[in-house]
Every structure is written in C-alpha cells, then in structure tokens.
C-alpha cells in the first residue's frame, strides 16, 4: 500500500512538472510582460533595461528555472489588470468556485446514487424510463444554456431567485475565505448555479451507476449470492453496491476536471466572481500572469484530487491494498 501511495505521488509530481512547463512556455511566448507592466508610453531604452532586470533576455531554461523557483513559492508574477500578485487574485476568487463545485458535487452524489441504483434494479419501470429519458435530454443541453434557461424561468419570469452574483458572503477562516453558505441570501444565490453546474454531470453519473450496477448484477458472484439464499436487499445494497462503487469512483475523479471547465461557463452566465469568470476576463485582456497562475492552480487541484481518488480506490479495492499494484 505504501509503495502504491509513493508511486502515485511521484506520478503526481511529474505531471505537475509537465503542466508547469506548458504553462511557462505559454507565458514565455505569448504576450509581452513589459508592455503589460508599464504600457506603451515608456521609452524603448527604459523598456530594454526593464527586460534585462526582469531576466527576460536570459536563456529559456534559466527563465524556466526561475519560474519554477517562484512558482513553488507561490509567486506567479503580477496581474497587470488587477495590479496585484496573480496568486493573490486567485486565492481571493477561489472560494467562490470551490463552494460552487463542492455544493454541486454533494447534490450529484446525493441524487445519482439512489436514482442510478433504482434504475439498475428496476430497469423496466416507468420511473426508470423517465429518469433515463431525462438523462439524455440533460446531457444534450449545454451547461450555459441550462443556466440561461434557469435564469429566464426563475429570475426573469417568476422572480423568486436572484439572477447573478453570490449574494451576501461572510468571511471565515481569519478572513481568508468568503463563504456564501452561512447567509440565507448567499444560499439563495447558490441554488441556480448549482443546479446548472450539476445538470450535465448528474445524468452522466446516473447512467454510469446504472450501467455498472447492471453489469455487476450479471456476474457469477452475484448469482452465487442468490444461490446462498441471501436476501435481495443484502445482495443489492451490500454486494452489488460495493462492486459498483469501484469503477464509479475512478470515473468520478476524472469528471472533476470537466466540472472545473464547466465552472467557467456557469460563472460567466451568473457573473459569479470565481476563478472561472476571472479566467475568461484574463483571456480577454491577455493577462498572461493570471492565465498561467490559473493553469497551475487548476493543475494542482486536479493532480491532488486525482491522487486522493486513486488512494481511496486503493483502500477500497482489496486487490490493490494487499499487493500494492493495480
């Protein structure tokens, strides 16, 4: 098990290095940091001096090394638009996105497990067909469209939910984190974005759980469980469930990546002041420091989450736990 964890962590570090390399290459080739910092009205000679000072004339790998050194310290340069260090901007915006993702994940887990299991156990029932039918429709509607339609229905027409922003937030964790969970207004603002963000992932998970569980139900060991005279409840909710969980966890980890991409779309529609919205603005303004910082942050997030998911999988799957290999 220990060997397994160590190997996963090493792989994580390698992936991070590759991501950082890509990020740095982007930063190096796109945009002009000097222009971002001081604008066009500065004299050419002063700009040249600045370039020298910033080390922009050094060879590629020297610059890369410096980049890495700074990155590890959390320094990604200055966002020329916000006039603040890029990392600071991200840390300010991160809570908004993380809360959105967290709330959506909870919703997805709470709904997909019972619905998916039900559809697997009673595939021909009317409810199952309905759920599967809605799943296909759900998957066919792009996330931003769901968001727009939700706003159109609930905010513009029915006026019962707000249409943009996070609402009132309360600072916690020594002021580092502005949360929307603790105010009624914040929670109200959370509802539509969370529904929108979950709307594509939920059907996916329902179908996944249903498919996996149906496959498990066809196995010999489930048949043997019936032959042993075990009760249906035990067979479904203990045996089949645990076996279904394994592949679902693996896929679940990967879906997080897709969720982060969807936050960009959702935050844009709801003017949600999170990292996704910030990213889009950074693109429009060619704010490369911010872009690269976002890439690195998201990269770290993925790698960490995927590694944790892999490790959890390792704990649950006895084949991995005992022998240390997959």
């Amino acid at each position: 098990m220990f060997a397994f964890i160590t190997r996963r962590i090493i792989q994580a570090v390698i992936v991070m290095l590759i991501i950082s390399f890509i990020g740095f290459t982007i930063k190096h080739h796109v945009g002009d940091p000097v222009r971002e910092l001081v604008g066009v009205s500065v004299k050419a000679s002063e700009r040249e001096a600045l370039r020298e000072k910033l080390g922009l004339n050094d060879p590629f790998f020297v610059q890369y090394k410096n980049f890495l050194k700074n990155a590890v310290k959390g320094d990604f340069g200055i966002s020329y638009f916000f006039k603040k260090p890029a990392s600071q901007v991200i840390l300010e915006k991160a809570p908004a996105t993380l809360e959105l993702v967290f709330a959506s994940s909870i919703l997805i887990i709470l709904l997909s497990i019972p619905l998916g299991t039900y559809c697997a156990i009673k595939p021909k029932s009317i409810l199952s067909r309905l759920i599967m039918g809605m799943s296909i429709v759900g998957v066919s509607i792009p996330v931003f469209l769901t968001a727009i339609m939700l706003i159109f229905l609930f905010a513009v027409n029915l006026h019962i939910l707000p249409s943009y922003g996070r609402g009132d937030t309360v600072p916690i964790l020594w002021g580092m984190w502005d949360t929307g969970f603790l105010t009624l207004d914040g929670l109200k603002h959370l509802i539509l974005p969370v529904i929108a963000l979950s709307s594509i992932m939920l059907p996916l998970f329902i179908r996944l759980i249903r498919a996996e569980m149906m496959e498990v139900m066809q196995t010999e060991y489930i048949k043997f469980a019936f032959a042993k005279g075990l009760s249906k409840k035990r067979i479904w909710f203990v045996h089949a469930f645990k076996n279904t969980l394994l592949p679902v966890i693996t896929v679940g980890g990967v879906q997080l990546g897709i969720m982060i991409a969807y936050t960009i779309l959702t935050e844009t529609v709801f003017q949600w002041q999170g990292m996704g919205f910030m990213f889009l603005e950074a693109v429009e303004r060619s704010d490369t420091s911010l872009l690269v910082a976002y890439l690195m942050f998201v990269g770290v997030l993925f790698v960490v989450v995927n590694t944790i998911v892999d490790i959890i999988y390792g704990f649950i799957n006895p084949k991995v736990r005992i022998s240390g290999t997959k």
């Binding site: 075990l230 645990k242 084949k319």
Partner: protein, 321 residues
Amino acid sequence: MMEHLLEVNNLEVKFKLRTGGLTAIDKVGFTLDKGERLGIVGESGAGKSVTGFSIINLISKPGYISDGEIIFEGKDLTRVSEDVLRHIRGNRISMIFQDPMMTLNPVFTIGEQMAETILAHKNISRKDALEISVEKLRQVHIPSPETRLNQYPHEFSGGMRQRIVIAIALLLDPAIIIADEPTTALDVTIQAEIMELLLELCEKNETGLILITHDLGVVSQVTEKIAVMYAGRIVEIGSTENIVANPLHPYTRGLIKALPGSRGTGEKLYQIPGSMPNLTEMPKGCAFHPRCELAEGECFTTVPELMQRGNFRRLAACHKV
C-alpha cells in the same frame, strides 16, 4: 412407496427471446434419495446446467420454468413463494459453480462471505457464525483457517478457492449439493483432489449430490446413478454400474466408447460423428438420429419416449433398443 428426498417430474424450461420462444429442457425427470449421488452428463448446451439451476429456480431471464414439478421436503419448488425458496437455497440445497474465481466476490473477505451465508438463515451471533466457518474450512483441509478468514479470494490458489466454495456449500449442512462442473476450471492435477474431497464429505455427512458434468469418466467413479442428457432431454437414466457396463442408448454407447482407455492403448480415440444440434434447429423425430448408426423409420418422425427397457430399473429413449 418410499418418499424420495427430491423428485423432479416433467420439468420444462423455456427461453423467451426477441425472435421467439425456445425450449431448453423438456420432460426432464429424476429422483434423488437421502445421501444418493446422481450424475447428469452431456455435452455443452445439452441442458444439464439449466436443469441444475432450475431446481432452486436460479435460471436467469429470459428463461423460466414452463411446466413440471420439483418436490422437495413436501413442497413443490416451482410453485412456492420466493421467500420459501430463498430459505431453501444455501440452507437445504446448496450449489457449487464452475469457476471459483468468478464465484467469490473479490471485494469481500472469505470470512464475510461465509458468515453472511449462515446469518442469512440462522439467528446466531456473528462470532458463532465465524466459528462454524472455521470448522468447515478445516473440514475442507484448508490450513490455519482462522487467519484465512480475513483474506480475500485473490489471495488463494484455484484449488483452495474451490475448497472454500465447497465449505460454503456445506455451512448449513444441506440435504443436497448441486455441483455444476466443479472441477472443469481447475488444473488437471487438482481436479482429482477436489472430486475426492467432495465425495468424502458427501459420504460422511450423508449429503445428496447432483453432479453436473461432461466428464463421463469422473461420473462413473463418483456417482451411483447417471442421467444422460442430449439436446434438452434425458435419453438414458439408470444406475452407474449398469450404464457403464451395458449402455443402451446409442448416444450413451458413443460416450462410453469415446472414453480414453476403453479401446486399449495405441488405438485412435473414438468420436461420435457430427455434433449436437442447435436448440433452434432441432431435427424432426429423435434428436440424435442424424448421428445414429441405427436410425431408421420411426426415428425420423417420432420423438422416442423415455421408457423402461430391459429388466433392471433402467430407462432409455430410443426406438431401436
């Protein structure tokens, strides 16, 4: 009239397919007494496994029992409620499947899989259930059984896994064990061991055994009665001794002839010409006639009934015998 432990009469199993209905087994009947060992022999697709599964109604959809009765301990298992059936499975009638790696759930320990079987039928403490499990593991000759309880299926060899499966089958001291090709998936060297173990335990506990296999050689050494199946029907049934010494049905004769060793060393192995028909394309009349050297007249038009032939308690389905 002595009451049998298990009596199967006129059993018929159909499969409902998109393209129509299919009869998998037809007019299958046999009896089993306490401690008796019956072998059901035939090639793949003859319907032996379907017969085995249907006794405890484990046939997967779209198969279903369409006719017949299965009388066990005073009840007709084809008409009894699912609840009653559940309490018979694993408890009064156990089953052993072919491949022990697929039979045991890979994510649960052996101990859990054994204890849950007992706890599903008896209201005792988990500790007691585990103790019984240890005892049964000992009976199947698994060394240091107490420590083995916490291990997972993949940590055992193929032969050991099948022993565990046998132990699970014996947990509640059933009256009958149905073994569906219990050694086919194992190494040849282990096969004999497992068969011997099964035999030993059945004899000791007076457990009835229904051994389903394609291996006539094994059956001739382990069982007291044999039922030979072909294309979904029993074509011959009788005591093992009689059938092996003097087979009546041409198919059975072919099987005995095909056993290595029956022709002496250096001789070419015998093979029954042709192959068993697909259940969707059954020939008219006797299903075996395309491969039978005795076939003529009636054989092409009428399906032969399983009837008493000769003096001894023997039944065969053939017009020519």
